[in-house]
Symmetry: C2
């Protein structure tokens, strides 16, 4: 039984240049942490990610919003998590601050993730195994599918899960082989060309086959120069992703993307404002077959639904520490599967939780085994940091969602 | 010069049933108030509206976000407000909590509105007169039009203003005649049929020619019965608006709207989730020529742009205490004008600020003189409450934006 709820405002300073992009110039990687204390020895830990300022607001909202969970048994809660989460998200006063976005929704992420963590710890299994051991019906009961009725009903979700059940075995080798990673820390925006080159050579030597570069300079030529430099260094067989972090207007995005075509991008990430579904739709058409990736700032399943309906996204970068936690991540992954789009999470959690979720997505939903972003800057901060060897995430075996901070 | 910034968490209990709708069952009308203190005797007052819980979070964010304004002169600030507001909105850490939505954007509304209030008080004129006395160039300098480049550039905004300049005189009679109002307080969700009927008769007797009813019951028949009752009472010549407050799924919305057609709705308001542009587009097509109204939960200009581009809204209910304040309200009004859509604000401010803004919209932008929502429950709380006589807002004459609370 959950007896008490506490929160922690955990902020971690980075080294100069780390984590920088064209828009976020001085990040302080931070977690609004929810702890669920129980009568047993287990403590559920949930994360929501921010860049520092305002992290306290998320903690405060989480502490208040989570109150209805006190006195509840975790197994009972999770048997109907979809309904419970909906009742939290639809709080008749807090809802006005969203709905389903911003501080209150980040708070919901932190709470939800704490519940999943506690559940897995109580059962003594890693999160990926917990999810894979559930029946399709139990998975669907975890989800709030409201406002998705036009594209994904509970029965539709069940159908996706059941359809992929017979072939799970074929995909389960990923557990022992590990899930491929890609390195985002190579090309932070403020890194000079020389450092960028050194990082890229090192990453390729370490076994990474995909790298990301931050673009979105006011000086467009800088972006083109650095993109070309990177392609020159890594050769034609390494995948390069270019991330503008929302810096461009639609007209700019079209122009720069057309120029970047020469360096063969695997995707263009967050070209413009994350609320602008129709701008992404127009861009996708203008630069096809170049692929767009986005999602780290898409707040909820409803906006993802619109992106999918509009054909405005190819790589769905839903983040379980941005949307309403693990369960909304799964709802979005189910929708993406229905639309035939890949899920390639943004890792505000540094990959700690997502290393579990991509295994479920691949095995249970039949999503491609693509690659999972990796950001190493907080490795020393986690009790059990994700381990990436030869460019591959080693499957975690300890109980829970790997979210505990030191 | 602005010397200090304070905030106030102002919450006002309502009488049972007041303010209730199908989703917001126990509202406590609240303002996150920003006060800008100056060396002179003027104090700028800015409002953002919430329903109670979490109002403190908005106050906290406003106090922090507004810090760069300390030491600034209000005339200098407002000469380049578009750039100043953008720099506040793009705070590299707080931005992560949005961007441009939720708690941080409500905070921006409160700050922005305080600046406009202080500016008008300093000049000794009501806000509507301040705005009308500005040149088109000065108006455009107030606006952050970033991410609108594909539909409204600064030059395009200037063109709308200049085009309507020669005919301003024809529309200026509204200042002495007053702007028509409509009464939302007739048909709160929890009011029983008898009270609903009594309220409707009284409102019509008071001169109102438009009334709103809250719908979105789990029991669809209740909605249909009450809508028919209201139509019977007011006769065919009073406009009736039906407000579902986002309660319906798309399939439900289509079904209930088709049934409501029989009572001749002037508009259907917030049929489903406010992020779901494409659901509103589909609904608008399915029930045409029935008109959709929405905006009280649309967080920013970018989402409004998508609604307009998609042909998914007929009556734009942008609210200056929800979006980033007066200036973003104006940006949205300019866009709506370009798309030929009416602006009919939601009044989280109870009409205090919007009574100024609709005069500007009509006279300077050439928007229709439609009607402005009126909600009387906080009249005793304002220093200078809006006055509505014979169904018409009497133009305020005191300096400022009528935002001061007792």
């Amino acid at each position: 039984m959950i007896t008490r709820i506490t929160t922690r405002d955990a902020r971690f300073a980075l080294q100069p240049g780390e984590g920088t992009d064209s828009v976020h110039t001085n990040p302080e990687y931070s977690y609004a942490v929810t702890h669920l204390l129980t009568e047993s020895r287990h403590i559920g830990t949930g994360l929501a990610f921010t860049l520092g300022a305002g992290n306290d607001l998320v903690c405060k909202a989480a502490a208040e919003l989570a109150q209805p969970l006190v006195g509840r048994d975790i197994e009972e809660l999770m048997a109907e998590w979809g309904a419970v989460q909906r009742s939290l998200a639809e709080h008749p006063q807090y809802r006005w601050l969203g709905p389903h976005k911003g501080v209150v929704h980040l708070a919901l992420a932190s709470i939800t993730n704490a519940c999943f963590d506690l559940w897995a710890k109580t059962r003594g299994v890693p999160l990926w195994k917990l999810l894979l051991d559930l029946s399709p019906e139990q998975i669907v009961a975890l989800l709030d599918l409201s406002y998705l009725e036009d594209v994904l009903t509970p029965l539709g979700a069940l159908a996706v899960l059941n359809r992929n059940l017979p072939t799970r075995g074929e995909r389960s080798s990923v557990i022992s082989e590990g899930y491929p990673g890609y390195d985002t820390s190579v090309g932070w925006f403020q890194y000079e060309d020389e450092r960028l080159g050194k990082n890229a050579r090192r990453a390729v030597a370490q076994g990474f086959t995909a790298l990301k570069l931050k673009v979105g300079s006011h000086d467009e030529e800088r972006d083109i120069r650095r993109a070309s430099l990177l392609r020159e260094i890594v050769g034609p067989n390494v995948r390069l992703m270019f991330d503008a972090n929302q810096q461009w207007s639609l007209p700019q995005a079209i122009r720069v993307c057309q120029r970047l075509a020469a360096v063969d991008p695997f995707w263009i990430e967050e070209p413009t404002h994350p609320d602008d579904v129709l701008a992404h739709q127009a861009l996708a058409k203008a630069v096809a077959p170049m692929a767009l990736a986005l999602g780290e700032h898409v707040p909820n399943r409803v906006v993802f639904k619109n992106y999918l309906q509009a054909g405005a996204v190819e790589f769905v970068q839903v983040d379980a520490v941005r949307v309403g936690g693990v369960s909304e991540f799964l709802a979005v992954s189910l929708m993406a599967r229905k639309f035939g789009k890949s899920v390639c999470p943004h890792v505000g959690d540094m990959g700690q939780i997502h290393q579990h979720l991509v295994l479920f997505n691949h095995i249970a939903l039949g999503h491609d085994k693509l690659f999972l972003e990796q950001i190493p800057h907080l490795q020393g901060r986690f009790v059990r940091p994700a381990i990436v060897n030869d460019g591959v995430y080693i499957t975690p075996q300890e109980p829970g969602s790997s979210s505990d901070l030191k």
